[in-house]
Symmetry: C2
Subunit: 240 residues, 2 copies
Amino acid sequence: MLKYVEIENEIRKRIKNGYYAIGEHLPDQNQMAKEFKTTRVTVQKALKNLINEDLIYSQRGSGTYVKANAKYASKFDFGVDQYVGTTQFLGKNHKIASKIIKFKIRYPNADEKERLNLNKNDLVYDIKRLRIVDDEPYAFEYTKMPVNIIPGIDESVLKKSIYGYINQTLNKKIGAAYRIISANKSNQDDQKYLECKKDDPVLLVNQVVFLKDGIPFEYSETHHPYNKGKITVYVSGNNR
Amino acid sequence: MLKYVEIENEIRKRIKNGYYAIGEHLPDQNQMAKEFKTTRVTVQKALKNLINEDLIYSQRGSGTYVKANAKYASKFDFGVDQYVGTTQFLGKNHKIASKIIKFKIRYPNADEKERLNLNKNDLVYDIKRLRIVDDEPYAFEYTKMPVNIIPGIDESVLKKSIYGYINQTLNKKIGAAYRIISANKSNQDDQKYLECKKDDPVLLVNQVVFLKDGIPFEYSETHHPYNKGKITVYVSGNNR
DNA sequence: AAGTGGTCTAGACCACTTC
DNA sequence: AAGTGGTCTAGACCACTTC
């Protein structure tokens, strides 16, 4: 076990059980180094990680303090920013199915070429899927993916989980995602497949998703019925 | 100037002008330490920050690489996650005004007490504001704030910027925010003040915002007309 | 003046990847 | 076997806060 991870875990435990009280300052870095039989640099590494977790904050000259929302944040630390693949997001307690509405391979249009950074001879999958959770329509997805980046997608993959296929079969790692969230009136697909009424609102998520190396592999738009989909976001204040 | 900031800036510059090409690996840490006349630890600190910026990534045993989306990300690095105070978000090129629809001080209800972590004798501001940008209705805000945390709010503050008041007058620093984004049908306020029609969708942002020390100071719901408001989110893949 | 966190050096050992 | 990044030590100097 890495030393800084040990220190992190111990401090996290002490915050949770109230040994380090909210608003109070932790022992200073020299004391901690002594207690954990290490050096200040290693203590600082542990503290830095806890700062990024929004559990504590440091003030030069003054000390390191437990944030008042240390517990609040942890209350929500599942589900937040997890909008990455319906299957992974919802977990095992739900029955997830997909109905393939459209699946073809074609050349990309100008917009798709720009978003996915493609050349004119590259091909894209053009997919429409209805996602069904616990036997109810959950979301409607319009997905474009480059064939050369994610080879081998077929109907059996689409019926299960594309992200599962990328992770486990292709052994590629998912990286960052750039999303635009908006509201709109339902379109014909929403009305037909999501059981929306004519003037019902839908929640739209437009996203470009990247692999770990920064190559974009998904350009998609997802529609959620207004009474079902919610997006949860936690923005850390550490960079402000 | 701090040494690791210098190194960051230089590397950032080299990526931007293509001296370090996308997908290629940077010089190894020992070489960089030599070039910048410093030690590996300081180089690592600079690299760590660039990794958090999603500009590069490291692979133990192999090297440090420029991400393919290094430029893509920087294309959007304004505006992303900036949903913090309309005034700050929109900047100086817009004319921002507010119309106060409701402003009173009262005891909180159970929900507000829980979200804002209040005792029964604490008071909250209960505010309804129409935000007007470039002479057009832009958003409708229902805001609750604890009086003891943010003292001294009055109509002159509400007509300008609450966040500006907190930063500059109270000299407190804004921290994290927890948000839930959803879509709904317009309500009576939306129809009256945002000029929504009866069945028009609105984009809803429910949020709790915290000060740097983790104390919650805002519990609010903001309504955007569906053809105006969009929320932009960038999720870094570094923690996956 | 004393206490605190932030930066930096000059080394060492190790885990993992590449060839 | 050689090259790479990750962790860790034992110190030093400094900026800032607190009293």
